[in-house]
């Protein structure tokens, strides 16, 4: 990642430390057994290790929800913030500290419901941040309420006779936002595909939005049952510039070629609901990155005082 406009003293760029998976572990995860969040955590820790990201240079920001417990389980800096508000926090971190590697973890309620305005606008700002939306189609932490991504008819504590509305389509929504630069979908049960997706997201220069279909055995076991049992229900978006996972391509035989620079086709594919589609719907590396757009030269205290005095001169009586 690029280091711009940041007045750092002390820097660990030339150190010779190295980190293994365990070095990225913090508290013991407290998710239910079988919860898809565990698999995502593993994939993320694998990424950190492969990329050898210094823990102190890495920040995980989250909202509130089961998924938002994520930062507590990673040995890095973290900010477990407010429900729905992870993205502004992350933007604040990144815009003033482009030297840090910033990851965001959100739930579907967190991101798509209460956080919707920030989701839309952070997509538009396009900071170089990796955003993972762990989509279990339900409010997990608060114990089973309908989320915007709950399938129509899904019975929850707040819509006991079944969800009233069609599920929101977070991929299509993100694609509709100007400056969307990386939009991908993966599932917690395809470890290599998550990993490859995370890697592509991390490598992307800009805001990477990754929707991870996440199993919640506690409340929405049924919504991915089909996907678990029947490889026919899955289709992979494949392309040389897309997400490549040989393992996954072995398991899932439906492949649809899709050039990730083709926004309209990505949108079309996102609208289809016959199958679950995993892969990279859209990528555009030409969109300016917010913290670079907003990067300004730094100044010492003395320089500031000098400029301030010039400014005060203009107001002198």
């Amino acid at each position: 990642m690029i280091q711009l406009g940041c007045s750092l003293i002390g820097s660990s760029l030339e150190d010779d430390r190295s980190w293994n998976m365990q070095d990225y572990e913090a508290a013991i995860p407290r998710w239910c057994s079988g919860c898809g969040d565990h698999a995502v955590l593993t994939a993320v820790q694998r990424l950190l290790e492969e990329e050898q990201l210094p823990p102190e240079q890495t920040v995980f920001v989250s909202g509130i929800g089961c998924s938002s417990r994520f930062p507590h389980y990673i040995n890095s800096y973290g900010f477990h913030g407010l429900h729905g508000r992870a993205l502004p926090l992350a933007t604040g971190v990144k815009v003033r500290r482009p030297d840090l590697h910033v990851f965001v973890v959100m739930g579907d309620g967190d991101c798509c419901s209460i956080g919707a305005a920030h989701w839309i606008h952070t997509t538009r700002y396009n900071p170089n941040v990796v955003a993972l939306m762990l989509d279990n189609g339900v409010y997990g932490l608060t114990k089973n309420q309908t989320s915007p991504t709950s399938p129509k008819g899904f019975k929850s504590n707040t819509q006991p006779r079944g969800a009233f509305l069609n599920a929101m389509n977070p991929i299509a929504t993100t694609l509709g936002v100007e400056n969307a630069s990386f939009v991908a979908q993966t599932g917690d049960w395809v470890p290599d595909h998550i990993y490859q997706t995370l890697k592509a997201a991390y490598d992307h220069r800009g805001f990477s939005f990754v929707r991870i279909l996440q199993r919640c055995p506690q409340y929405t076991d049924q919504i991915f049952l089909d996907a678990m049992r029947n490889p026919e229900t899955i289709e992979l978006l494949v392309h040389p510039r897309g997400i490549r996972s040989a393992d996954t391509e072995q398991i899932y035989k439906h492949h649809v070629p899709h050039d990730p620079s083709d926004l309209t086709n990505g949108f079309r594919l996102a609208q289809l609901d016959d199958k679950i589609r995993l892969g990279l719907f859209y990528q555009n590396e030409d969109i300016p990155v917010y913290e670079e757009v907003r990067s300004v030269p730094t100044h010492s205290a003395d320089e500031k005082i000098a400029i301030l005095n010039e400014e005060l001169d203009k107001h002198a009586v």
Partner: protein, 638 residues
């Protein structure tokens, strides 16, 4: 205002005419001028330059904007009134005064607006555009006549001025010329230095073609000559050369520059009147200092970005007004809980709800102090002058950083748009936040290593090796580990409260203005200081035994108040917020809504602190306060 008038508008209104001989000179220690036009005719520009040249020449100055509610209200209607009041004095001027002694009005409707607002002093000299009285449009003539009828019987002196006619000799569109002609007139009347004014005009139009400035200067000179030839008086406000270099700006500029001077480098905001102009200033200049303004999608995101940036390094700030403060409620609680330093500026306007967007009120004190669900100790402070707007930003930043907490700065619309000269701040390195320190954290140093006595702990920021922790708004221990047990929660609450008590112990008791003891102590906060102290001075001159006390820290309160109050028979706050009239129907001491500061003082000191408050949507006038003092002090009622 008496109605015994020596000059009825119909009767004594005179076409200005050539004067031979000497002019009357009104020598005075202070004079209050208003310039009002239809919105868009530039009275504000005229008045601002007039204020500025007066400041440069060494006079005390205080200006207040007269702002219409709409962007483009219909011309020639009272709501269209736009302009400024400029109060000029030999000594520093601390408030907008009671009423104008001289008024320049571009039409009779905007004059009516000011008249109805009680803005004209007895004997006020009104320089008014002459074109309307005899306008070809009958409706206009009728409007003029009706206005004169309404004004009839008041002690005003009218002077007719052919503003438009004269302006047309220089420019084609008089709407763009009358203001500079008026400025020339004022320059003549108050003997202002034309060279300084010309410089100011050239600066004002520096981004336009040079002809623009030159035609404005031509208008200025025309106005000056015209006044010299046609007006029979001058006003002389002697100057006492200030002993130190001065600067002049409004409170929002001062907040913005003060923010820069404090070394903060990120302001995240969402536009809202009357806070926005501070971010306009910052948007223009902050980048020169390595800072940026992030205009967020809403106020929640704005404070979120600020909290994120503060978490990641130094101290960021956000600036807003009432409705925006409401939206920041939840995030302020998070900043308290995670001990992220943060400065929140609330430029107060009239409330509740959208209320009076452009007008002053001091009614966010309780919301700032108690807005958060749960116990959320933080610091709330309020500057009282433009100068304090500048200075308080560094103070706020330092408190936020030292005590790891949010600091709310309550400014208001009066400070925001008012202009006053003040001693040029001497910014040195101690003002400016230290650069990021990313040195490794000592083994075993915890992210919230609370000192058990003081609750203070050393901040750890991302990038520091060995310091990794996860901040959380959940109840947590010194390691920032989530903990729901009674001891963890009680400990955290205690430590977050303790450090604010420690902060309070670092403050000095405030200084009483007037005598140290007596009948009545008036307590104020924020922008009312000048008006209150002027009222107290006038009351003391009348022999009334009254003093005043002005608070800068509202939560925690400055120490020693109980002791100070004990030296007075009666204590009463003067505030611009709502309180019930104790004599109104159904109002009892138990259900009376009270001035917000008085409420806090009562709870803290148990002294029976009364309050005298108004919500007029404009600054309080010293005369009003004086009346209130008279009503509350023995021997005061006349």
């Amino acid at each position: 205002m008496t109605t015994s008038s020596t000059a009825s508008p119909a009767g004594e209104k005179k076409k200005a005419r050539k004067k031979k001989g000497r002019k009357t000179v009104i020598k005075t220690a202070e004079h209050t001028v208003e310039v009002v036009s239809d919105s868009g005719e530039g009275a504000q520009k005229c008045a601002q330059i007039f204020g500025r040249v007066s400041a440069r020449m060494g006079n005390g100055v205080w200006t207040v904007e007269i702002i219409p509610a709409e962007i483009q209200p219909p011309p020639r209607t009272p709501p269209s009134a736009s302009g400024n009041r400029i109060r000029i004095g030999t000594k520093p001027v601390t408030n907008w005064g009671d009423a104008a002694h001289l008024m320049v009005a571009f039409n009779e409707q905007v004059l009516l607006h000011r008249h109805r607002a009680g803005a004209l002093a007895d004997g006020c000299i009104i320089l008014i555009e002459s074109v309307w009285e005899t306008h070809e449009d009958e409706d206009i003539r009728n409007e003029w006549a009706a206005a004169m009828e309404e004004l009839d019987g008041h002690d005003y002196r009218f002077v007719m001025v052919p503003l438009e006619e004269q302006a047309l000799t220089v420019v084609e569109n008089p709407r763009r010329g009358k203001n500079m002609f008026a400025l020339g007139m004022l320059a003549n009347l108050y003997s202002r230095d034309l060279d300084i004014i010309k410089d100011l005009i050239r600066h004002e139009f520096r981004k336009k073609a040079p002809e623009v400035a030159e035609s404005n200067i031509a208008l200025l000179e025309l106005g000056h000559e015209w006044a010299e030839a046609n007006l029979d008086f001058k006003v002389n406000i002697p100057v006492e050369a200030p002993s130190m270099p001065m600067v002049v700006m409004n409170g929002n500029q001062a907040i913005a520059m003060g923010g820069i001077a404090s070394g903060m480098e990120l302001c995240a905001m969402y536009p809202i009147t009357p806070a926005t102009s501070a971010s306009h200033y910052l948007s223009e200049f902050f980048e020169n200092f390595g800072g940026i303004v992030h205009q967020a999608e809403d106020e929640i995101a704005a404070i979120g970005v600020a909290v994120g940036a503060s978490f990641a390094g130094k101290v960021a700030f956000t600036i807003t007004s009432g409705p925006g403060l409401a939206l920041k409620t939840e995030f302020i609680g998070l900043a308290v809980m995670t001990e992220v330093p943060l400065v929140i500026v609330d430029v107060q306007r009239g409330g509740p709800s959208t209320g009076l967007p452009t007008k002053i009120e001091q009614s966010d004190l309780l919301a700032a102090t108690f807005g958060q669900p749960g116990d959320a100790p933080k610091v709330v402070m309020a500057p009282a002058t433009m100068e304090e707007c500048f200075l308080c930003m560094t103070t706020a930043r330092k408190i936020a950083e030292t005590f790891r907490c949010p600091v709310i700065v309550l400014s208001d619309a009066n400070l925001a748009t008012g202009v006053q000269p003040f001693a040029r701040p001497n910014v040195d390195r101690t003002w400016i936040a230290a650069p990021l320190d990313l040195s490794p954290v000592a083994d075993g140093q915890k992210p919230y290593a609370w000192d058990p006595q003081t609750g203070l702990s050393r901040r750890v920021v991302p990038g520091q090796p060995n310091g990794m922790f996860r901040a959380t708004g959940l109840s947590h221990d010194e390691d920032s580990k989530i903990g729901y047990s009674p001891d963890v929660h009680e400990r955290g609450c205690e430590m977050r409260a303790r450090k604010i008590a420690v902060f309070q112990q670092t403050l000095q008791p405030p200084t009483v203005h007037g005598a140290d003891e007596g009948e009545l102590l008036v307590v104020g906060w924020g922008s009312t200081m000048g008006a209150i102290e002027e009222a107290v001075d006038r009351a003391r001159e009348e022999g009334l035994d009254v003093s005043s006390l002005h608070l800068r820290f509202l939560s925690p309160l400055e120490p020693g108040l109980t002791e100070i109050f004990s030296r007075f028979n009666k204590v009463m706050t003067v505030e611009i917020n709502y309180s019930d009239d104790p004599k109104a129907p159904f109002i009892t001491p138990e259900n009376r809504r009270r001035g917000q500061l008085s409420w806090m003082l009562r709870a803290t000191t148990l002294v029976d602190v009364d309050c005298w408050t108004r919500v007029p949507g404009e600054p309080l006038r010293p005369g009003q306060i004086l009346d209130a003092i008279r009503a509350h002090v023995p021997g005061g009622a006349k």
